[in-house]
Amino acid sequence: MEQSVPTRNKLGDKLADFLPKLVLSPSLAIVLIFVYGFIFFTFYLSFTDSRILPSFGLVGFENYDKLFRLRAWSIAVDNLFIFGGLYIVICCALGLMLAILLDQKIRSEGFIRTIYLYPMALSFIVTGTAWKWFLDPGIGLEAVVQSWGWTSFEFNWIKDRNMAIYTIVIAAVWQTSGFVMAMFLAGLRGIDNEVLKAAQIDGASNWALYRRIVIPQLRPAFMSAFVVLAHMAIKSYDLVIALTNGGPGRATELPATFMYSYTFTRNQMGIGAASATLMLMTIAAIIVPYLWSELREKK
């Protein structure tokens, strides 16, 4: 075969070498500006006297100081602890239980799984709407049970300042527990059957098998579930808006709804930015170590 020295276009080569980075750069630029630039912008605003519009007069920690004195904020934070704590614990307990039950060679397992998981495909607004009226004492569960003849039955949590936050937990658990179940089920299916056989030969009962061998091996699944649920709890906004709109009164405010109302309806942008910053820092404290370990392991 006739072979000549390949004629080479140096400029074209340089371009070709650069091409992958060039292709990546719009996305990187978008992320840098719209995620990190914006984070910095909001962070900066939290130290300014911004009210209805951004303003750049620095006021130090005044917004944070105000924020911590605001009753609405402390209610929101307390609510987040109640809601987040119950949400995570119940989702994990329910998810683990359902996963273990589903892992017993259940007939039509796929069908049942589909039913358990479908709420994840719904919008929180839809979920909120459904539960809002179902829990409404006037027409929902209370009215239904009373119409069955139990006339003294009461279930009016959604209208009760002290109990309303638990209705959020009910609806949120309904939506996500199937997903947690799927995570645990994947974890269960990843466990080596030979280990279980060995334990059975050693005389372990089913209960001991799960408590001593299986559940300890689900640590990664617990880890993932915790991270996902915690981050969803902190970001919870839609569900509260649809279900209770923060009410009755402020009884179901969460940091996410607090931020929105202080920034956009009460025109306290500086305080809103401060609250958003605190939300970000909380999530970062959970997510960053998790992503770090995941990305390192993948190397």
Partner: protein, 293 residues
């Protein structure tokens, strides 16, 4: 994904199996109950609901609430029904999903097959962007959309969803392409294919499953979004979720529960349909966002 049925070595007796099935069925009812409530009550007249019959089947079947929710119900100030907002959501979701999936595929390709110093850091930065509370970007984004002349428009929403959708798209494709042998790319390089040619001829034709996963995930997420819609849309560019919330929470007039339920089902229908048709991919997407593998 390890969801496929495998043999369990654990044996259970007759009684315990009976209990297990009972519990599983009870939870089926629990998960299906709200859907059932929405469905039956969207098909009955309002007074049947008020009479405490929320759990019973309609005595008088009617499609009127659906008609009302679709085309005549009062949303905000106008009695347009949900139809224009359903359309808004469609107009928003299709381009946003298409573009973010395409970008995700390219990013994943670069990050796995054309690796360079610092690529993991870049990926980490992108990934973290998926998890931030979006409250952190609401204020500057509102300003930015104003500067770009996109405030209160559907293109503005497309842009927002695109921006915050890239991270997950990239995650899916990166993890998928990471399992794709490097030798294939090397072979194609020796065969004379360049950057785009390898992508188009070798990578893309094998990307079907992950593209489905990514599209479903983005579709579900963007369709179901409320925060961005509520923050950045005007009355005439609102997506379905925002309109539904306006419909349900409007304080004026009689509460038409049946219409609300019909509207809720309408808002849920597209994602539910996708879930029923391609649930396998939906679950894969969910898991890929949380668990390794």
């Amino acid at each position: 994904m390890a969801l496929a049925s495998t043999d369990t070595v654990i044996r259970t007796g007759r009684t315990s199996r009976f209990i297990i099935y009972t519990v599983l069925i009870v939870f089926c009812i629990y998960y299906l109950l709200p859907l059932y409530v929405m469905l039956v009550n969207s098909l009955k007249p309002l007074d049947e609901i008020r009479g405490g019959g929320m759990l019973s089947l309609p005595q008088e079947w009617t499609l009127a609430p659906w008609g009302s929710a679709w085309s005549t119900a009062q949303i905000g100030v106008e009695a347009t029904g949900l139809r224009p907002y359903f359309l808004n959501s469609l107009l928003m979701v299709v381009p946003a999903v298409a573009i973010s999936t395409m970008l995700g595929a390219l990013n994943g390709y670069v990050l796995t097959k054309w690796r360079f110093r610092g690529d993991t850091i870049i990926f980490g930065l992108m990934l973290f962007g998926c998890f931030i509370p979006f409250q952190m970007v609401l204020i500057p984004m509102a300003r930015m959309l104003g500067l770009m002349g996109l405030a209160g428009t559907v293109p503005g929403l497309i842009f927002v969803h695109l921006v915050y959708g890239i991270g997950f798209s990239t995650l899916y494709f990166r993890n998928y392409y990471a399992q794709f042998p490097d030798e294939l790319v090397r072979a194609a390089m020796i065969d004379g294919a360049g950057f785009f040619r390898i992508f188009q001829r070798i990578m893309l034709p094998s990307s079907g499953p992950i593209a489905v996963v990514c599209i479903i995930w983005q579709f579900t997420n963007i369709w179901n979004d409320f925060l961005f819609g509520a923050s950045f849309a005007d009355f005439d560019s609102q997506p379905m979720t925002v309109a539904l919330n306006n419909l349900v929470s409007s304080s004026t007039g009689v509460k038409e529960y049946n219409v609300h339920f019909a509207g809720a089902i309408m808002a849920a229908l597209p994602t539910l349909l996708v879930y029923v048709v391609a649930g396998r991919f939906f679950v894969r997407g969910l898991m890929a966002g949380s668990v390794k593998g």
